[in-house]
Amino acid sequence: MDRSPLARRALLATLVAILALLALLVPAGPAHAADDVCVPGPTTGCINGTIRTAAGDPAVGIALTATGPDGEHTVTTGPEGRWSITVTAAGDFSVLLDVATLPAGETLRDPSKNPRTVTIALGSSGASLFPLGAPAAGGTGPSPTGGSSAEPGADTSADAPAASGSGITAGRVAQQFTSGIVFGLLLALASVGLSLIYGTTGLSNFAHGEQVTLGGILAYVGCQVLGMPLLVSGILAVAIGAASGWFQDAFIWHKLRKRGLGTTQQMIVTIGFAMALQYTFQFFLGGSPLRIVTTNPRTFSFGDVIITQQSVISLVIAAIALGGTAYFLIATRTGRATRAVSDNPALAAASGISVENIVRIVWTLGAGLAALGGVLLGLYFNATAWNMGATILLLMFAAVTLGGLGTAFGALVGSIVIGLVSEMSSLVIPSDLRYGGALLILILVLLFRPQGILGRAERVG
């Protein structure tokens, strides 16, 4: 396979740019675990609480600041959504939740109760609770009974008629739109490989989500277990991810194609593979969320929109990586050969393209991009986990189907649409259903335009 010097130079430039940006992601100062449990002693007291999302899942990585007689304490919620602060003086503490660190789509149920004041005596603990969810005031229709009543301290009767927060405001629309674009671009990183692999081999790879998880988990292992800086572990994660794609094709999928195993059979093999990988991740790292970085991201605000520094840099990295991929596909010989194989493998083979080599490149590239997506999504979600990829696998399929199965640019367009839909739908439907909206789109697309936005009708049959 000949690669033109131009292509190599472009890839190199892309790589350098990504590295430079990853460097910016590295947080200042050492990361320290936030979830060490506080035990009140004779000279200490504790403030603690658990934060759960509106859906009842632990909210990880939310920053809280307690200010009191002995100064200021900062903490973030741990894997179970728990946080605790050790204080060394008795008195009133004002606990402020940093709203910018809430997961996308989550709001405080009662914004007027932030900051809260809690009185702490030495040798004792005090709880400070911040229930998340839609504000109860001005509710439309029958409001859910669960959630609020279960939490002590969340006295719904005292809810002030908060005017803002609920309903669709321009600010919220802009905020969700921004989140949607970020999520969509990160999703695109994960989906491009899925689409290219389908295009060149006809395989719907159900184990592609695990490539995404692999990236996130490797970054976690690099940062938290081996203590490397994020930049190094991020690069290693992408490199190992790409290598895993190469090895997978060389030792599994290439062999199966040579055996003449049909694509449907191969698809079921990928399901078994996905299962084995997921439980392997869980075997080694357990079932709880894993935070890649434990420090709190800095935030910028543009008008009503609050965005973390991480998201901005992730956005740029994703854009560069996707731009590099697009350049590779359009302007290089190998890229053109890839598109040729995607169009018609037999004809491509007849015109002297080595189809198996192209497929190997596609697997390596796709897995590398998925790993990069995994690292950035792990940062975007504030934590990665053994099932992160599996959770977004169907969104990836939805994006790829929407854009047109097998087309790389379709995957990009589809991902952005799916990202926008899943983030913006939480304006009108409960946020724990937001992925459901994206999946519904998948079904509707198949009903009305099964070839997707950029696909051609003949692909379906």
């Binding site: 719907s204 078994g272 439980y279």
Partner: protein, 328 residues
Amino acid sequence: MDWTRILGQVAGEIVAPTTAAYALAAIGLNIHFGLTGLLNMGQAGFMLLGAYSFAIATIAGWPLWAAVLVAVASAVVFATILGIPTLKLRGDYLAIVTIAAAEIVRLIGRSTSMTRITGGNAGLAGEKYKYTFEELSPFPDGEFSLGPWQYSNNLSDSWWLRIVAWTVVGLACLLMWRLMNSPWGRVLKGVREDEDAVRSLGKNVFAYKMQSLVLGGVLGALAGILFVLPRAVQADSLGRPVTFYIWTILLLGGAAAVFGPVLGSILLWTVLMLIKTVMRDVIPTTVMRSEQIEMFGWVLVGIALMLLVIFRPQGILGDKKELAIRDH
């Protein structure tokens, strides 16, 4: 190593209602896949829907027969809605849509906004909907033991449930056997082998596929009821992994074979239990914790699925000539 205890636990898996529920769901999938060649990747969705429908109807005060009918009806509606957009498309589209639809059912079921109806993330407790089934039992209260099997007569994980569950599985096998040898079943096999040939004979392929999807889905919904009778209805316990276990069961036992799903289900759960209990005894907890052994078991299931499809796609009882996995 305490072999009496280990073999006792393994023997428990043979008659367990959960084994029967998986076998029944796999029989439904066999109608979809083994008979018709449909790639339904959302069988767990049918089970969850059946379980919710049954439990919610019972909680609303409906008698047992009506609650079962509600479960069947909801499976029929769900299959129809799924089938209309996808049955005209290629196989892997059906796979993606069914898996997405099952996921939508699960997301809606566990959503906080549905807590009043489905119990949200916590689900519906077993005591709320088991009583109509338990009241129907002809046995006196108490316990009964037979060899390694000792269970309550009527309550929850009971003999009564075991007898009913395996009777239903037996009836489903009978139905499957009659269907496979009926003119209707022959048309389905024709659809599996060559859609266009069947179409050229004047058969409405779409209608046949739809009937197959509905029938297999109804069996899935009934399996869902059997699955939740010894436990609670909880959306996440019937998620995507369950569908994949059902596929492993079907491919292990043999697709398009009448007793394939039953053999597959019994074999999967007994072997898994044997491996896990032996490992728990042999491996010290410092090397592998109890939950890690659980994970290890599932890794083995995943690998078993891969190896089966690659090396013996017809499974144990299946016929290679009747293999439904092929590309159209």
